[in-house]
Structures are given as structure tokens and as C-alpha cells.
């Protein structure tokens, strides 16, 4: 059974490690693709550079997008994504440090599906990731035409 992947866009290696740990602790065993900056994320999604020739049908079930990124920042990534005919329906969850008003407004205006602030308290973070997984990988019906398989939580 093919589990749908998660695209994690995160430049901070600590955060990356903690996110992966949290996913693991919640038994989310879906493939997690990590992009470390905006360029990398766009390359993956648009199947360019290192990702040229990737299977077009295997798009991630959800993108966990940090905002403050080297080269191209998260909002710019989101904007390009929403401008693309094939990718504009992909669910995007902004997962970032700040809850600055401008970030919230811009994020939603550009078409983010959700906005989650990473708690400092790791326990709370694990809980947040758990709910994220349940919601986006299990409960949420993905938009049609982007892969066939539903995600699954389990071991």
C-alpha cells in the first residue's frame, strides 16, 4: 500500500530533527520529504533540478511549510504554488515560529489551508503534530487528481 508523503520545508536542522521525532512518536510512518529552503521545495514540487523526472502522480498529502527560509521564503513558495495549475490545490499547513499578524494575514491571503505556531514546549509540539497527522493524513479528503492512496497511521 502506498502511503502518501509529507513535504516538510524546514531550514533549521534542530527543528527538522524535532519534527521528525514528533512524527515518529506519533507513529506517522508516511514518507517525509525534507526541503531545506524555498528553492529546494519548489524544485521538488515542480520536479526540477535534483527532482527532475520525479513521478508526477506522487504529490505529498500535505506540505508543512516554514516561513523564514533561505533564498526563497515560505510565503513566496506558497504564492508560486497557488499560481500553478497543477499544484494550487495541494494542502499547505504553515508551521512556523511566529504568529505575527502580518504573517497570519499574508499566509491565509496567499491560500494557506492552516496556520500552526510551533510551541516551544516539545510535549505540546508532539501533540500538535499528532493532531496534524490525524487531520491531514486521515480525516481530510485530498483534492482529486493528486495520487490515489489515502495515508495511514499505524505501525
Amino acid at each position: 500500500m502506498h502511503r502518501r508523503s509529507i513535504l516538510l520545508v524546514e531550514d533549521n536542522p534542530d527543528d527538522e530533527a524535532l519534527a521528525l521525532r514528533a512524527l515518529k512518536q506519533n507513529n506517522i510512518i508516511n514518507e517525509v520529504i525534507v526541503a531545506h529552503d524555498g528553492v529546494e521545495a519548489l524544485d521538488y514540487l515542480f520536479r526540477r533540478g535534483a527532482h527532475a523526472g520525479r513521478d508526477a502522480s506522487k504529490q505529498p498529502a500535505v506540505i508543512l511549510l516554514d516561513l523564514k527560509l533561505p533564498k526563497i521564503d515560505g510565503l513566496e513558495v506558497l504564492k508560486l504554488l497557488r499560481a500553478d495549475e497543477h499544484l494550487k490545490l495541494l494542502p499547505v499547513v504553515i508551521l512556523t515560529s511566529s504568529k505575527e499578524e502580518q504573517d497570519l494575514i499574508n499566509g491565509y491571503r496567499l491560500g494557506a489551508n492552516s496556520y500552526i505556531r510551533k510551541p516551544v514546549d516539545f510535549t505540546k509540539f508532539v501533540e500538535a503534530v499528532r493532531q496534524l497527522g490525524v487531520y491531514w493524513l486521515v480525516l481530510n479528503e485530498p483534492p482529486p487528481g493528486n495520487g490515489t492512496q489515502q495515508g495511514k497511521i499505524g505501525n
Binding site: N12, D14, V120
Partner: protein, 874 residues
């Protein structure tokens, strides 16, 4: 005793007239007495006639009653005792037919009533009644005035015996006549004078019938009264005495002869007052007429006396008095008729004529001299100027009323005194010489002192300026000098006032650098004040013309002033210009000139106006303009700087928001990872330390969040709109209650508190204060929180009060500092950012925040949301 007569002629005349009325008065009174005697006699006759009439009427009724009785005794039903019921019915019929009857009945020989028209419930025996006994004895009619035993009313009862065929008396029939009804009938047929009383009484003095007021009198027994005694003694006659009711009356009385014996009398009384009323009123009328006649006669005498006697006498007296005073033209002015007064007047006038004729000659010789003197005196007395004459020895010989007024001396205080009295001492000697010099000079009149002002001295020592003319007259070889003086104090004062005003005007003109000018429209010549000349750097004495004036202006200013003058000359248009000029000395100046044309008819004859040096003002204006421009530039710069600073702050906040938290997450997350993955190697203490690392990082995250919040409060753009604070407070409290349902507090929120401000910030403000109050009352048994407002010096002061932990006023100044805390985190959690936020919000609204509290007894936080007029902390 002597009769005191009035002293005046008038009074005596009136007294005479009144004396003439006295006999008439006596006659009237005598006549009245006579009339009364006649009335009394008549009254006696009238009453007697009335009494007889009543007696006769009674007799007539009794006779007809006898007739009735006789026929009743013949009736079988009356005669037979067994038919007594039928008898009663028949008698009742009889009674009904005769209104005067009160009862009709039949009695046995024993006296028992066998049957009667008025039924009686019990057995009634009339055997003891004298008239019954008598009728049985005499076998004839018997009657009596009495009170009915069955009816209880005053009656005249008459009985007649029933005699059977054998001649035995077997009973009697009686009829009781109602005396009240009898009287009423009588009164209807006879007209009685008002107040007349009719009384029937028996020889014992008991009243059997009475008109009027029968109920009040009948049945009373009054044997001791004078009236009863008189009647019983005289039996028949008349009397004049007080009646039973106490009213004086004429009485007539006589016995009523009804049966052989007499047992009753009729008495008729007419009140004296009624009888005498016509006589008395005639007397009153006569006396009233007499009084009117006497008054009229007296008045006629009073007024007649003036015309006929007093006026001629007083004319005579006036003439005599005038003559006595020496007025020889006095005459009586009365007609010289043949009467005593006319003759007296004639003699007097004749005498006055003679006296006057002898005096006229004497008078004419004196007249001319007198007229000359009087005219001179009049002039001197009436003159408004002081006129003073002195003789050769310089002593005052004439001092007129104006001189008195001016110098304050009475003429008699000055006459004969040296002139020095009227001069200040320091001038006396000089003046004396001056007068002497004048005495030798040939002229007779000139101004004294040649327009030099002299000084006079008043009685009170005050000196005053005078203007004088002096003249010299030689009389009887002596020189007399006469001075005409005028007090010119008022004039001097007015001159002084004008001079002072002029000086003021000049000074003000110099200070304000303003002056006036005018020039003639035809000649184009002008004048200007000193200040205007000075502004031009010209000599004030220099002549000026329109053309000279124009020379000081060049270029644009020249064009403007020429056009303005043209407009003023031709169209009478006023002008007000600010112009640049170059003065005679080449100085550059700004001036303001205002011109006002003056018209005579349609033509402008002159223009006048003001001229002011406004150079300084112009410089100041230029400076202000420059300063304003600088200021605007500076504001622009500052605003730009501020915007840059704000931008920087914003990006700083942004960066803090993102970057400062990430490491904390690492610290917390990996500490947790350590605890999970290496739990066995760490031991409890190690885990404890890691726990602390996590707690610290989390707290730091909180601090960062609060710091950002505070920064946001400062940065956020402000909006101003009405905000309902009361509703806001309610919703905050409701939210607190919802999140902490285990807590309860007594919360009082004043309704209708409104403010104008930023709704989001005001929510943050109230949220902080109410959350604080909620938090710090957490350890109270009965927490109380109050939100309200009051007015203080015109400013609305809001407050949030609680009865919680409170604080020491020593630290009040620290309360509003960022991250300042007065309690440990263990006691009350928090970062110490709340009140700093409150203060910033309040400041952004232009208000002020302060607090009052006592440690352990609660705190009150006050704030205003608008600037206060006077900063007096509550």
C-alpha cells in the same frame, strides 16, 4: 353760664338761622304727644270692641250647639243604652259634619260614657265634671271651658240631659267644641291688628285658649300675674299693662256668659308698639325734614355771608392795610351804593385819593435820581464778572455779588479793606505800584497786565488765575479804580487737558510709529504730523505736497500708491496699503498708509489718513514665515526618521518573533529527547535538571511573546471610535469565568461606561486590568472586583478595584514598568508586562494611569482616556 358765640361774622349768622328752627321742633314734639293720647284712647275702645265681638261669636256658637244637643237627645239610638254601638257610629257622623266639634258623646246618669264619637279604650266617667253635675241637677244646659278627658284638648264642653217619658233623667248628651278651631274661624272672619293676642282663661287663671301659639300657653295656670288678677277683680274693662308674654299691651276683657254661672273670661291684647307705630314714624319723618331744612338754611347763611358781607369787609380791610404800609394807590374797589358798607368804602376811597395826590409830586423829583442809581446797581449786581472798585488809597469801595462768589468774601467783609486782601502776599507790593503807575497814566481803561495772567486769592487762601480789565474814574477830585475780573480756572484747566492729550497723542504716535496726514485735493498741498515726517526722515517743518510724498516710493509700491490716490480723488475710494519706501536718508522701510477721502457735495476736497512704520512687523512676519518653513521641513525629516525607526522596530520584532524562539524549541525539544532516550543514564537528578532547562526555556518563550505584545501595542495604528467599556468588561469577565469555572468573584460593572478610542487596544487594556484583579483576588474568601468611573475636575476617571493581594504604595512607581513584578511567580504567575501594556495604551489615548493599594487589602487601578485640564494626581 354764658353762651359762647362764634367770633366770626359768618358763624354768628349761621347760629341765628339755626335758632329760628327751635320753635318748629317744639311744635312737632307737642303734636306727636297729642296724637299718642288720641291713639291710646282709640286703642282702648278698639280692644273692648274686639273682646265683645269675640264674646258674641262664642255666644252664637254656643246657641247653635244648644240646638244640636236638643235634637240629639230626641234620637232613639241615643236614648237606648243597648244601641250604644250604633250610637257611637251616629255620633261619629255628627262629628264629621262639624269641624268645630272635637267630640260628641252620651253619658249614663252615673257619669259613665255610654258612647262617644271619639272611641275610648277604657271606661271614662265624667260624673265629676261640674257642667255634667249641673246639667243633671238643673235638667238644663250646662257648659264649661276645660281640657277634654278623652281628647286631651282645650274645649268648651256643653251638656244637655236626656229625660224619659216619666220625667226621669236617664243620661245626658255632651258636645266638646275645639277652642283652637273656634279661634281659627274667628280670626279668619275678623281682621286683627298685628301682634294681637286672644286669651280665654278661667277664674283660677288657667289658660283655656290662646291665639297665637296655642300649644305653648294652653293648660298653663297663671293666677298670680297682674293681668289675671286684674281680670278676676274687675271682670269687665280695659287695662294697659305687660301681658303674659311680657309685651306691653292695651287689654280689654269681659266674662263669657254661657250658662247661668260664669267660669271664663275673654281677654284681647294689642301691643302698644303696634298702636303707636304710625305716630312714631310720623314724628321721625317730621324731625328728619326739620334737620334737612336747618342744614340747608345754615349752609345758605354760610355761603351767603361770604358774598354779601365778608367780601366787602375783607376788601375794606385789605385797602386799609395797604394804605397803612404806605401804598397810596390802595382803593377798596367796592360799589359806592347807599348801604352802610357802600358808604364806608366811598369815604375810604376819597381819603386815599387825597393822600395819593399829595405824595405824587414828592415822588417825581426823586424818581430820576433813583432810576440812574438802580440801573447802575442792576448792572453791577447782574454782571457775571467780578466788579471791584478801589479808591485812591486802594481800599475796596465796591464788591459785587459775582466778586463775592469768586473770592468767597461777603461784601461787608471786604468793603473798606485794603485790596491786598484779594491778592497773594508775594504780588501785593508789585500790584500796588502798578495801580499807582496806572493812576498817573492818561488812559482811562485798558487790560490790566497786558494779557499777563494775574493771580487772585480767595478767602480760603486758594490762588486762582484771573483775567482783568481796569478803568479809572475821577469823582469829587478822587480817583476810583474799577477792575472787572474773570476767574479763568476752568479755561486754564481745559487748556492744560488739551495740552496733555496732545502730548499723549504725540508720545503714542512715536511709540507706535504712527501719525496722521492730510492734503488738499485742489492745491495738492498737505500737512503731516511730526511722526509722519520722522518716518520719511524729513524735517517736520518742511512743506509737503502729494508729489513730494510720492517721491519716496518706487517700482511696484509707487504704482500702487498712485492708483490708490487716483481712486480716492476721482471716486472717493478709501485705501489701506502696505508699501515699501526709501526715506530721504535712503533707509528702506515698510509702511502702512490708510487714506480716507472727504467729500463736500460730490467733490472730494481732501484726503486724510494715517501713516505707520511697519518695518519691524514686516521683519517679524518674514522671520515667522521662515521659521514656519524650517519647522515644516524639520517635521518632514523627523517623520521620515520616525518611519524608518518604526520600520526597523517592526523588522526587529519580526526577527525576534521568528528567530529567538527557534533555539528555545531546540533546547526544550532535545532536553525532552534526552529525558526520553537516556532516562536510565540520567538518574532522577539529571532528569530534574533537564526539567528545569525546559521550564526556563518555556518561560523565556513567554517573556519573548509578552515583549512582542508590548511592542505591538506601541506600534499598532490607532483608531478612534466609540467603545462600550461596560459591555467589554462583561465579556472579559464572562471569559474568565468560563476558563476558570472553579473560581467565583463578586463582580460589579457600572453600566453605560463609554469611551472614544481604539477598540482593540481598549480591550487589551481592560483585559489586563480585569485579569490582574481576577488573579490577585484568587486567594480571597470573598473576592470582589469593581469596574466604574467618576468625574474628577471634568475628566472621566475609570477604575478597576479589587480586594485582593494589593501592594505596598512604596512600590507604586514600579508597578507600570515592563517586567516589573511585586510578587513571586510562585505566588502569582505572570511576566510583569500587563500593567506596562496598560500604561502604554493609556498614554496612546492621551490619558494617565495610576494605582492605589494597601498590601493585603486590595488595589485600585485608575486611568483616564483623554488629556486632563490640570494635572493633579488623585
Amino acid at each position: 353760664m354764658a353762651i359762647v358765640l362764634p367770633a366770626g361774622l359768618r358763624g354768628r349768622l349761621v347760629a341765628l338761622v339755626l335758632l329760628a328752627v327751635v320753635p318748629a321742633f317744639g311744635l312737632i314734639v307737642y303734636n306727636a304727644v297729642e296724637q299718642r293720647t288720641a291713639v291710646a284712647l282709640n286703642a282702648r275702645n278698639d280692644t273692648l270692641a274686639l273682646a265683645q265681638l269675640v264674646a258674641a261669636e262664642q255666644g252664637r256658637i254656643i246657641a247653635s250647639t244648644h240646638q244640636q244637643l236638643r235634637s240629639l237627645t230626641q234620637l232613639p239610638i241615643v236614648r237606648r243604652p243597648a244601641w250604644h254601638e250604633l250610637c257611637a257610629q251616629t255620633l261619629a257622623q255628627v262629628l264629621k259634619q262639624h269641624a268645630q266639634y272635637i267630640n260628641v258623646g252620651v253619658i249614663d246618669p252615673s257619669g259613665d260614657v255610654r258612647c262617644s264619637a271619639v272611641p275610648s279604650n277604657q271606661r271614662v266617667n265624667l260624673g265629676d265634671r261640674p257642667y255634667i253635675r249641673r246639667t243633671f241637677e238643673t235638667r238644663d244646659f250646662a257648659s264649661s271651658y276645660q281640657i277634654g278627658r278623652i281628647t286631651g284638648k282645650p274645649t268648651l264642653s256643653i251638656a244637655y240631659p236626656i229625660i224619659d217619658d216619666t220625667g226621669q233623667v236617664e243620661g245626658a248628651v255632651f258636645i266638646a267644641l275645639n277652642l283652637v278651631v273656634l279661634f281659627d274661624d274667628l280670626i279668619r272672619t275678623v281682621s286683627l291688628p298685628e301682634g294681637t293676642t286672644l286669651t280665654i282663661l278661667n277664674s283660677e287663671g288657667a289658660i283655656l285658649a290662646r291665639h297665637p301659639d296655642a300649644p305653648a300657653w294652653v293648660g298653663k295656670s297663671l293666677p298670680e300675674t297682674e293681668l289675671v288678677r286684674t281680670i278676676v277683680a274687675q271682670r269687665e274693662g280695659t287695662a294697659e299693662l305687660a301681658g303674659l308674654d311680657g309685651v306691653e299691651k292695651f287689654y280689654a276683657f269681659l266674662p263669657l256668659r254661657v250658662v247661668p254661672d260664669i267660669n271664663a273670661y275673654i281677654s284681647v291684647g294689642i301691643p302698644r308698639e303696634i298702636m303707636f307705630a304710625p305716630v312714631n314714624s310720623a314724628l321721625a319723618r317730621s324731625l328728619a325734614w326739620l334737620a334737612v331744612i336747618a342744614t340747608l338754611a345754615g349752609a345758605a347763611a354760610w355761603f351767603g355771608a361770604r358774598t354779601l358781607v365778608l367780601r366787602p369787609v375783607s376788601a375794606l380791610m385789605t385797602a386799609v392795610t395797604r394804605l397803612g404800609r404806605g401804598d397810596l394807590s390802595a382803593r377798596t374797589g367796592l360799589a359806592h351804593d347807599s348801604g352802610e358798607l357802600g358808604q364806608l368804602a366811598y369815604r375810604f376811597d376819597e381819603m386815599a385819593d387825597a393822600l395819593e395826590g399829595s405824595q405824587t409830586l414828592l415822588y417825581l423829583t426823586e424818581a430820576e435820581r433813583r432810576i440812574g442809581a438802580a440801573r447802575f446797581e442792576n448792572i453791577v449786581n447782574a454782571a457775571a464778572d467780578a466788579i471791584i472798585s478801589i479808591d485812591a488809597g486802594q481800599r475796596v469801595v465796591l464788591f459785587n455779588p459775582s466778586a463775592e462768589q469768586i473770592f468767597g468774601y461777603r461784601a461787608n467783609e471786604v468793603l473798606g479793606q485794603p485790596l491786598d486782601l484779594l491778592l497773594p502776599v508775594r504780588f501785593c507790593e508789585a500790584h500796588r505800584r502798578h495801580v499807582q503807575g496806572f493812576g498817573h497814566a492818561p488812559e482811562t481803561g485798558r487790560h490790566m497786565g497786558e494779557r499777563e495772567e494775574l493771580t487772585g486769592r480767595r478767602k480760603d487762601g486758594a490762588e486762582f488765575p484771573v483775567e482783568a480789565t481796569i478803568s479809572k474814574v475821577a469823582a469829587d477830585g478822587q480817583s476810583v479804580y474799577t477792575a472787572i475780573l474773570r476767574d479763568i480756572t476752568a479755561r486754564k484747566r481745559a487748556e492744560q487737558a488739551i495740552r496733555e492729550k496732545d502730548r499723549l497723542l504725540t508720545t503714542v504716535g512715536t511709540m507706535a510709529k504712527v501719525g496722521g496726514w492730510e492734503f488738499d485735493a485742489r492745491t495738492r498741498k498737505g500737512i503731516w504730523t511730526e511722526e509722519v515726517a520722522r518716518i520719511h526722515d524729513m524735517d517736520p517743518k518742511d512743506e509737503t505736497t502729494v508729489e513730494i510724498g510720492l517721491r519716496f516710493f518706487q517700482g511696484e509700491s509707487r504704482k500702487k500708491i498712485e492708483a490708490a490716490i487716483k481712486g480716492a480723488m476721482e471716486n472717493a475710494r478709501p485705501y489701506d496699503l502696505e508699501l515699501e519706501m526709501t526715506t530721504a536718508k535712503g533707509n528702506h522701510k515698510w509702511v502702512r498708509t490708510i487714506g480716507q477721502p472727504v467729500k463736500e457735495g460730490d467733490a472730494v476736497v481732501k484726503i486724510w489718513g494715517s501713516f505707520q512704520d511697519i518695518t519691524e512687523r514686516k521683519h517679524a512676519e518674514n522671520q515667522i514665515r521662515q521659521l514656519n518653513m524650517d519647522l515644516e521641513e524639520r517635521v518632514r525629516q523627523r517623520t521620515a526618521e520616525l518611519e524608518v525607526a518604526n520600520k526597523e522596530l517592526e523588522s526587529f520584532s519580526y526577527s525576534v518573533s521568528h528567530d529567538l524562539r527557534a533555539p528555545l524549541r531546540g533546547i526544550d525539544g532535545f532536553s525532552q529527547a534526552l529525558m526520553e532516550d537516556y532516562a536510565d543514564k540520567l538518574g532522577d537528578q539529571g532528569k530534574g535538571y533537564l526539567q528545569r532547562v525546559r521550564a526556563a526555556s518555556q518561560r523565556m518563550a513567554e517573556l519573548i511573546d509578552d515583549m512582542l505584545k508590548l511592542a505591538r501595542v506601541t506600534r499598532a495604528p490607532m483608531q478612534h471610535e466609540p467603545v462600550d467599556l461596560s459591555t467589554l468588561a462583561h465579556s472579559i469577565v464572562a471569559e474568565l469565568q468560563r476558563t476558570q469555572p472553579h473560581r467565583s468573584a463578586d463582580v460589579a460593572i457600572e453600566p453605560g461606561l463609554n469611551a472614544s478610542g481604539d477598540p482593540r487596544l481598549l480591550r487589551v487594556l481592560l483585559d489586563n486590568l480585569l485579569v490582574n484583579a481576577w488573579k490577585f483576588t484568587g486567594k480571597q474568601l470573598h473576592p470582589k472586583i469593581e469596574f466604574g468611573a467618576h468625574h474628577n475636575n471634568g475628566t472621566l476617571v475609570y477604575f478597576v478595584r479589587d480586594n485582593g493581594a494589593g501592594f505596598d504604595m512604596k512600590y507604586a512607581h514600579k508597578l507600570f514598568g515592563a517586567f516589573q513584578r511585586l510578587h513571586t511567580i510562585a505566588e502569582f504567575p505572570g511576566t510583569g508586562i500587563g500593567l506596562a501594556t496598560v500604561q502604554r495604551i493609556v498614554h496612546r489615548h492621551g490619558g494617565r494611569a495610576w494605582a492605589e493599594g494597601t498590601e493585603g487589602h486590595g488595589a485600585t487601578f485608575f486611568f483616564t482616556l483623554s488629556p486632563e485640564p490640570a494635572q493633579t494626581p488623585a
